[in-house]
């Protein structure tokens, strides 16, 4: 049936957990695009047939007209599915910058295709430029702070990090008392956890 593959593509998005990214299925995407071209060809040939019979394309309501209509509708439907697929993925990618920061971990990186990586890079450059113009880091304090300092435990070996004027060694399982804004990016990437008393 027409439009079935396109719907499969959209269902892939729907079956993913909310806000999670699935690997980009460019194979199926290309197949749907090819289906679109096929509809376009058949649509043209039906229109040509109507014209060859000497009928007016605008007003004729014969079998060929309805055939062409069905091809047209399938084309529009496939387009909607494809655009929705790209759009919804782009929305998730856009949210990544706020949730994970400008550097993507490899397990997410591999789910993006080439143009999506490009999109993410341009987006993060634009955001950086805007923030440096404002002289304000917009990506910190996503949860309203109660205290400027928090206690954290390191979950993974991060190594020696330079923050402000001193270097700290974030060895695995060590505990630190840090400025909230410094810890935030590590927590959202899953490298530290907040300790509560």
């Amino acid at each position: 049936m027409y439009g079935r593959k396109a719907c499969q593509l959209v269902k892939e998005l729907a079956s993913a957990e909310k806000g999670q990214l699935t690997p980009c299925n460019s194979d199926l995407f290309d197949q749907v695009a090819a289906e679109c071209s096929q509809h376009h060809l058949e649509l043209q040939s039906l229109i040509r047939k109507i014209q060859e019979e000497g009928l007016d394309v605008q007003t004729t309501r014969n079998a060929d007209h309805y055939g062409a209509l069905i091809h047209h509708l399938s084309l529009v439907r496939n387009k909607r599915c494809l655009v929705a697929y790209v759009y919804n993925r782009a929305e998730i990618i856009r949210s990544l910058i706020w949730k994970v920061g400008p550097v993507l971990p490899p397990e997410i990186q591999e789910k993006l295709n080439h143009t999506e990586e490009d999109y993410f890079k341009k987006l993060s450059t634009a955001l950086q430029a805007y923030m440096s113009r404002l002289d304000l880091d917009l990506t910190v304090d996503m949860v309203p702070p109660k205290d400027p300092y928090i206690q954290v435990r390191v979950l993974d070996d991060i190594g020696v990090v330079l923050s402000d004027d001193k270097t700290t060694n974030f060895a695995r399982h060590s505990m630190h008392f840090l400025k909230r804004t410094d810890a935030e990016q590590f927590i959202s990437r899953g490298l530290m956890e907040e300790l509560t008393g």
């Binding site: 806000g19 309501r61 014969n62 079998a63 909607r80 949730k99 949860v143 509560t196």
Partner: protein
Amino acid sequence: MANYYDIDDIITQEEFVSVIFQKAAGGVGIDPSSETDSVEVGSKVELPFWLAHELQLRQAVSMNVPACFNQKTRLEIQADSACVDLRSRSPYFYEFGCKIAPLVADRTIGPLLLSAFKSRYKEVLTKAHTAAYPAASKHLTILTKEETHLYEAAQSSMAAFKKWRMGGPRFQRASILGRKRKSNE
């Protein structure tokens, strides 16, 4: 018209409807029973809703009431709506019903949807707060998409309330990274 990019709306429109062609259509391979690639007048074909709807607007087809709103379903809903497996009929039972209702001659679909939703709603919310996990997963398989959302909303709001009362870490690993290391919760 729903949002153009709405995934749920797109999938709802993929539900099949049986239609009867009032006009012939050539050059299309949508009728599996036909040997040539054309559709005769009066042939009965299963079409996805997005196609059937547009063709109906142009009086090319007439739509029948889809199988998921048949007499059997109605009787089951009347008997005990909470136990009817609506998901197997259509995961978008209500949304699809709302789209179909103005297009077919049957005027009883609207009230059917309303009564089914009203009586199942209470059950969904009660189960969301009380059911133990293994029992709940069995119950979940008969809910439609809409009801599953409700169920999850009920559970997550309760969890959020408990978390607010007890306090706890407010910073968390971004959920997009998956559940890999989500341990002591």
